[in-house]
Symmetry: C2
Subunit: 200 residues, 2 copies
């Protein structure tokens, strides 16, 4: 079987950038927008909608579902999206060496034994700075507000991951390699993972 890498990540840790650069240096496929397009064509949902709900806090949608009787059970768009997304991940993973960022791909593809990477930042200041570098006008909001936003997005990801997988998000034991981008920079993190994936 060809190699598959899944990357989970803290919000604003540079995890997505790590994934993209790693795909470039390894010559692997990187699934992000392509994944969304595939899900869109399968479900008929808009790409914007998928982007919004594919990693968001979906527990509310399910809570609503459980409140209804099974007799009247009908999949909600968010449920349809989850199923289509999982199918798309499995389908794309068959095509050749590839990298998935987020979307519980580590869990969805566990039978393929992917290299499961978690990218995090042990330094909140560097996460805040990364936000400011991306959206300079956010500096006006102040560090405290951005920190709150960062932690809220991490919480959403944790709820989503735990709901889908019944596993704790960001638990190192669910990954094979965890890298701190506030100690290493993005390029060094890419080099470390590249080295890790070679000759294994």
């Amino acid at each position: 079987m060809h190699k598959i890498i899944t990357i989970g990540r803290h919000f604003s840790s540079g995890g997505r950038e790590v994934g993209k650069k790693l795909a470039d240096v390894l010559g692997y496929a990187y699934y992000d927008k392509e994944l969304l397009n595939l899900v869109a064509s399968e479900t008929g949902l808009a790409v914007d909608y998928i982007e919004k709900y594919s990693e968001s806090d979906i527990t509310r949608s399910y809570a609503y579902m459980y409140g209804r009787s099974f007799a009247s059970y009908k999949q909600t768009p968010v449920e349809k999206l989850q199923i289509a997304q999982n199918n798309a991940i499995k389908e794309l993973a068959q095509k050749g060496p590839c990298i998935f960022v987020g979307r519980c791909a580590d869990y969805v593809l566990h039978e393929e034994n992917p290299l499961k990477v978690f990218v995090y930042s042990s330094n909140m200041k560097s996460r805040i700075q990364r936000c400011f570098d991306k959206v300079p006008e956010d500096k006006a909001k102040g560090e405290a507000k951005i920190k709150k936003q960062i932690l809220e997005i991490d919480k959403q990801r944790a709820r989503y991951y735990e709901f889908i997988t019944c596993q704790k998000w960001a638990n190192y034991e669910n990954y094979n390699l965890c890298i701190d981008t506030s100690f290493f920079n993005v390029d060094k993190a890419v080099e470390i993972i590249k080295n890790a994936v070679e000759n294994t």
Copy 2:
């Protein structure tokens, strides 16, 4: 400043072996027995005693201390040991590039900004197998008993680490690189850390 690597580890994950091999390939000093000897000469305690109590559950000793009045306060041998050990770690770290395994060296040396590695195994079966490989007669005890022993030693390490550092043991955010030796083998883990430490 020269480079310092600290390695925390799951019991029976191969962390100590990773540290020793890494020191060989990098040409770094590896402090284990030397550290014990230095502490022994400073405290007058026997090396065997130090080995037993330098990472054990020391909270009982401290609980006893807190039960006494401050007027009659006198350091216990275990307390003396902890202070001497921390001093020895700091002293040895000044000498040149080096690797410390365990003993809260990541915390003791945090001002030196060491590369903090955590070596773990996400697969209990491989940890049990490692125990059997080291002590073949333990096979007679059975897997369940060995698993219990492994988890108990991890718990002791966690209590020791948390008591000394006021931080959670094995929390990935306290480390810069976490490596799963049930996915990678020991030699590959050494190669990954070697690559991580070079050009940083």
